[in-house]
Amino acid sequence: MNPNLSLKTPRAVAPFVKLARGESPRAQLDVLFRTVGLPIIGLLVFLMLWSGVAAKIDTSLGQFPGPAQVWNQAEALYVEHVTERDKAAAFYERQEERIAERLANDPDYEPRIHDYPGKPTFFDQIVTSLITVLSGFVIASILAIPLGIVIGLSSNLYSAVNPLVQIFKPVSPLAWLPLVTIVVSAVYVTDDPMFEKSFLTSMITVVLCSLWPTMINTAVGVNSISSDLLNVSKVLRLGWLTHVVKIVLPSSIPMIFTGLRLSLGIAWMVLIAAEMLAQSPGLGKFVWDEFQNGSSDSLARIMVAVLVIGLIGFFLDRGMLALQRAVSWDKTATLR
């Protein structure tokens, strides 16, 4: 049915497929060069420049790490992670054995399971950061999209809220953080905390900073719906909810996603900074700990973190793009 089906092959693979089919080899090689060749060349040039420049920088912690050292440290971090996992498994095994032994002697004994006391590995920190950023982003979006719609629908509300948004939008996360920390410790007092305070602090800071782009873009999208479509809605006398669901939401989807992607990017940047400053678990803390540590490997390990942070940010954005492609009604729009 769909004549565009062949477009569904991933862009990077399509030229290979076409080449294999024998479709105009010259043109396909050209496409191949542009989509695969040029990025590889760019990467190689970057690596060369990096090692060249790194060799010339001497720091108190030794020479600035080049690609090779950084790669070594990446491997080392992985090995550390695996050994730490093995140790943890062994720890729990021993604990269970001991409990079983005591239970055999004394049936009334109530076992208490102790957590493994080891410190979180690099990969644990990645997972923590990802969970924090996604929770913060989801909460921010759940707040921002409906607010943006309501604000966009009423130009009076827009005028009332706009100055506030413009003031809060540029506030750095580092300024929010002390306030959030203190408020969380004051307000979140339970004996059986479901969340760590540090998690809440980081997450709320992320929410406060990533709320605005989604909210503003949603409001602008809603506000700029074509007046023809609004007239259609008026002539049909659509109810408020139908109007929002059938007309307002679909037509502001592109702007909402623009906002969401900006917000997610900001959320990720903000989180790393917040974790560093607040010493909350996550990649930011990893970087800070290495900085404090100051061993000869620290710079290379920080570089690993930098690259991983960048890659994760990139994949988060790609993820949003994929979501936008799936949700958007306008399949002809080129999304990048």
């Binding site: 479509l229 007239n231 259609v232 008026k234 002539v235 049909l236 006398r237 679909p250 009604w329 306008d330």
Partner: protein, 288 residues
């Protein structure tokens, strides 16, 4: 109380502008009978769309008002369906869903699901669009979109069908084809129609009466020309018909002699205002 179907009485409208109020219409009076086909013709920017929007309820008259079956028109509603100049289909819905949105709203509680489905398909078939029911607006041509817009309006079973230059953006062949379809449908259903057009042939071919508007600002009804040609009308046969050519001539005389555009006077300011509205209209089209 009058007993006419649709009645505009002493309609004035003033738009607030930064330079003070701009009076677009002055004392528009018109009575329309049930089942009548009225064309509004006049120079660009004279206020045809404004008249139509007032009948639709999208604009409010500053003075005077509109009565439909004795009831005052004070808000838009599906009994006065509008076919917009640029089709205004919702791009994220299929052809079928676009019509469905209207049918669901108008016939909720009065029709079963199956009846609605039949009714939607029936109206798409009327404009010969049933074959493309599951395409999206960006997958069909301009003429097809306009037909779906007409189907959507017809499906609301409106008392009055309002059309703002429905065929303005189409090529001559498609336009002729759609005019013929519209005549057939109107003969079948007997809708009351008010249609804006720039096209003299179109006006004479389709209308029972042509309402010719004077130039703005403060435009009003200049002349009303009853078209007394037997129906069904056939465009080829009419081409050589003296009566037809006489009507054409009347309209052309009104437009190009009596209401010749006087660019130096007020016309120029109205002209710039119109070109602005036109331009913003285009921009919206692109956005949509």
């Amino acid at each position: 109380m009058s007993d006419s179907h649709l009645e505009l009485t002493g309609v004035d409208i003033e738009f607030p502008t930064p330079k003070g109020p701009f009076q677009a219409l002055d004392d528009i009076n018109l009575k329309v009978d049930e089942g009548e086909f009225i064309s509004l013709i006049g120079h660009s920017g004279c206020g045809k769309s404004t008249v139509l929007n007032i009948v639709a309820g999208l604009h409010q008259a500053t003075r005077g008002g509109v009565l439909l079956d004795g009831r005052e028109v004070d808000q838009p509603g599906p009994e006065r369906a509008v076919v917009f100049q640029n089709h205004s289909l919702l791009p994220w819905l299929t052809v079928y869903q676009n019509v469905e949105l209207a049918v669901k709203k108008v016939f909720k509680g009065r029709m079963s699901r199956a009846e609605m489905r039949d009714w939607i398909n029936h109206n798409l078939a009327l404009v010969h669009m049933d074959h493309a029911a599951h395409k999206r607006p960006d997958e069909i041509s301009g003429g097809m979109k306009q037909r779906v817009g007409i189907a959507r309006a017809l499906a609301m079973q409106p008392k009055v069908l309002l059309m703002d230059e429905p065929f303005g953006a189409l090529d001559a062949l498609t336009r002729a084809h759609l005019q013929d379809s519209l005549m057939e449908i109107q003969a079948d259903l007997g809708n009351t129609v008010i249609m804006i057009t720039h096209d003299v042939d179109e006006a004479v071919l389709l209308s029972d009466r042509i309402v010719m508007m004077t130039n703005g600002p403060a435009a009003t009804v200049g002349e009303i020309l009853p078209i007394d040609l037997p129906r069904p009308r056939d465009r080829l046969a009419l081409a050589d018909d003296p009566a037809y050519n006489h009507y054409r001539h009347e309209v052309l005389t009104f437009l190009y002699e009596k209401q010749k555009k006087v660019e130096e006077i007020a016309g120029s300011s109205a002209e710039t205002a119109t070109s602005q509205t036109k331009a913003s209209g285009k921009a919206k089209e692109r956005v949509a």
